[in-house]
């Protein structure tokens, strides 16, 4: 019975794709929900607080409670709002955010010639991703405009200006990588990093830096969260939204974070490859998934020892059992091989998402003119230089390891020039 079902699924690629889409949608929704939890927790720890603690042990059920609350809340449409656009806008945002995952390769593992861990490998993958994720800005602009209220409108204006500015820098930073891979397909880009032996970060650290900064700006997050600056615009473009539609916007925002991290990981950090995949000496790293699950188990054990509430202790014991079972499952060689790519990809994405939260806890918000200044007068010239220098070096010597030195030295020099040209408005540099 099971065998015939599996056969049927593998005989119909569309059915397989549909199942993959459903799984990706479900998993990403869950990840996004718990990303909010993680953000609140990490932010709290960095501020010497505890974060959500009341719903479930260590507040673990908080996302569920939040989701339920948002679903049940009244859905208000302002009297003067453009009703259809108002209803459409959040849907556009979430649609754009989720569609991107169709072209992101989570891992490269084939069963009977079918790829299990990605839906499609389009030969214009990166272009598709950039195009679709840029559509998300329509959701923000339309939502801000349709609300017929000044705060959302101002937030939307800021958001669109910011996205347009930083998309240029991000795009040009990505082109530097494309020159190495000479392919737009996400799978090809990762495979090229495998044959090269080193991840693209080491060839293009400047481009990576530019992309990280631009990514933070594009997802409207601190220190570039001007579109929803609470102190100035109450909540920015979604001020008038409530209930389920607000939840959609919220989800779209966090999904965009995941998307941007996935792109960065695929292009710069070698996607599903483990660190230094071509060095056989590091083969012991393939046992990392087991160690990670056991580490998770030990962490929960520590929580169990610390907790004095009986119900929490039952829950933690259950979690420990889950971790142990998972570790035993991973100890089976075929399973370990299958999970390898997915594990490294998720670890990298998780590190990236953590960094996003880390920036939020650390850096204060930019002023609007500073934001534009950084975007247009620093990032874009730097990205252009990086692109030109990379292109020249590759045309001259081909993608070898030593030209990376040339690229980086020149880019650093340009960075220094740009920095010295920029006046330091606060005079921080002279005070030191």
């Amino acid at each position: 019975m099971l065998q015939s079902t599996v056969n049927f699924i593998f005989a119909n690629p569309l059915l397989l794709a549909l199942i993959q889409i459903l799984i990706i949608f479900g998993v990403i929704s869950g990840i996004v929900a718990y990303l909010v939890y993680m953000e609140r927790k990490v932010l709290a720890f960095m501020q010497a607080r505890l974060g959500p603690m009341r719903v479930g042990p260590w507040g673990l059920l908080q996302p569920v409670a939040d989701g339920l609350k948002l679903l049940i809340k009244e859905d208000i449409i302002p009297a003067g709002a453009d009703k259809w656009l108002f209803l459409l806008a959040p849907a556009i945002s979430i649609f754009a955010a989720f569609t991107v995952f169709a072209a992101i390769p989570f891992a490269d593992y084939q069963v009977r010639g079918m790829n299990l861990f990605y839906v499609s490998d389009i030969n214009i993958g990166l272009l598709f991703i950039l195009a679709v994720s840029s559509l998300g800005i329509y959701g923000i602009i339309l939502g801000g405009w349709a609300s017929n209220s000044h705060f959302p409108l101002l937030g939307a204006l800021r958001s669109s200006a910011q996205l347009v500015s930083y998309e240029v820098a991000a795009g040009m930073a990505l082109v530097g990588v494309l020159l190495f891979s000479s392919s737009l397909s996400m799978v090809e880009i990762v495979k090229q990093q495998n044959t090269m032996g080193v991840w693209n970060v080491f060839f293009q650290p400047v481009a990576f830096l530019i992309y990280v900064i631009a990514a933070v700006a594009e997802t409207n997050r601190n220190p570039f969260d001007l579109p929803e600056a609470e102190s100035e615009l109450t909540a920015g473009f979604h001020t008038e939204y409530s209930g389920f539609r607000f939840a959609l916007y919220f989800m779209a925002e966090y999904t965009n974070m995941v998307v941007v991290s996935c792109i960065a990981v695929t292009l710069f950090l070698g996607g599903w490859l483990r660190p230094f995949a071509s060095y056989k000496a590091l083969d012991f790293l393939k046992y990392a998934p087991i160690l990670a699950t056991l580490g998770g188990g030990v962490f929960v054990l520590w929580l169990w020892l610390k907790s004095s509430v009986r119900l929490d202790r039952y829950f933690f014991a259950f979690l420990i059992a889950c971790f142990v079972v998972l570790a035993l499952l991973l100890a089976i060689p075929p399973v370990l091989n299958a999970i390898q790519g997915l594990f490294w990809f998720s670890v990298k994405v998780l590190a990236f998402l953590y960094a996003f939260i880390w920036y939020r806890a650390t850096f204060p918000r930019y002023r609007y003119d500073q934001l534009m200044d950084v975007g247009w007068r620093f990032l874009i010239p730097l990205a252009l230089t990086n692109l030109v220098v990379t292109a020249v070096v590759i045309w001259w010597k081909g993608p070898h390891l030593w030209p990376l030195l040339v690229i980086n030295v020149i880019c650093m020099a340009v960075m220094a020039c740009l920095l010295s040209l920029r006046s330091s408005p606060s005079g921080v540099a002279s005070e030191r």
Binding site: F45, M46, A48, W358, T362, M415, A429
Partner: protein, 152 residues
């Protein structure tokens, strides 16, 4: 700007310093939050909270001799001591009301008490749903506040 400054800015040293600081705060002992109903905060030694009328630890009789000195000492006049004479002309405490809603916890009443019967304890859970509930009678004063213990 000298070259050291250059390098400082190129490698984003200031930003990295900031990131290191926030990262270091994630250690478990840095957490400042108390989970109040589960864990009670330690109160300072000289904290003056809910008043209490002390009983003799062995006989259980009140220590109060109904001398009325606390009532006289109180700047807010919120203590009312009621007494009756026994057959041998001794004063005996009957009622004792203490209006907590007007109390400023100055502690003059406990200073005035010659027998250490009235005492401001370190109990801080004295919130109440009504103004009438803030007026404590003798029984409430002897028992002290009885908050419901939080369990989960």
């Amino acid at each position: 700007m000298d070259w050291k400054d250059f390098l400082w800015r190129i490698f984003l040293v200031d930003l990295i310093k900031g990131l290191r600081l926030t990262f270091s705060y994630q250690r478990p002992d840095a957490i400042y939050t108390e989970q109040y109903p589960l864990e009670r905060p330690p109160v300072a030694e000289r904290y003056r909270g809910a008043p209490r009328l002390n009983n003799h630890p062995e006989s259980g009789e009140t220590l109060c001799i109904a001398c009325n000195l606390c009532s006289i000492a109180c700047p807010e006049n919120l203590i009312v001591v009621g007494w009756a004479r026994t057959e041998d002309r001794k004063k005996r405490l009957t009622t004792f009301t203490y209006d907590l809603s007007r109390c400023m916890f100055c502690g003059l009443c406990e200073d005035a008490c010659p027998v250490d019967a009235l005492e401001l304890t370190q109990d801080f859970e004295i919130a109440n749903y009504s103004r009438e509930g803030m007026i404590w009678d003798r029984q409430a004063l002897e028992e002290g506040p009885q908050p419901s213990r939080y369990t989960r």
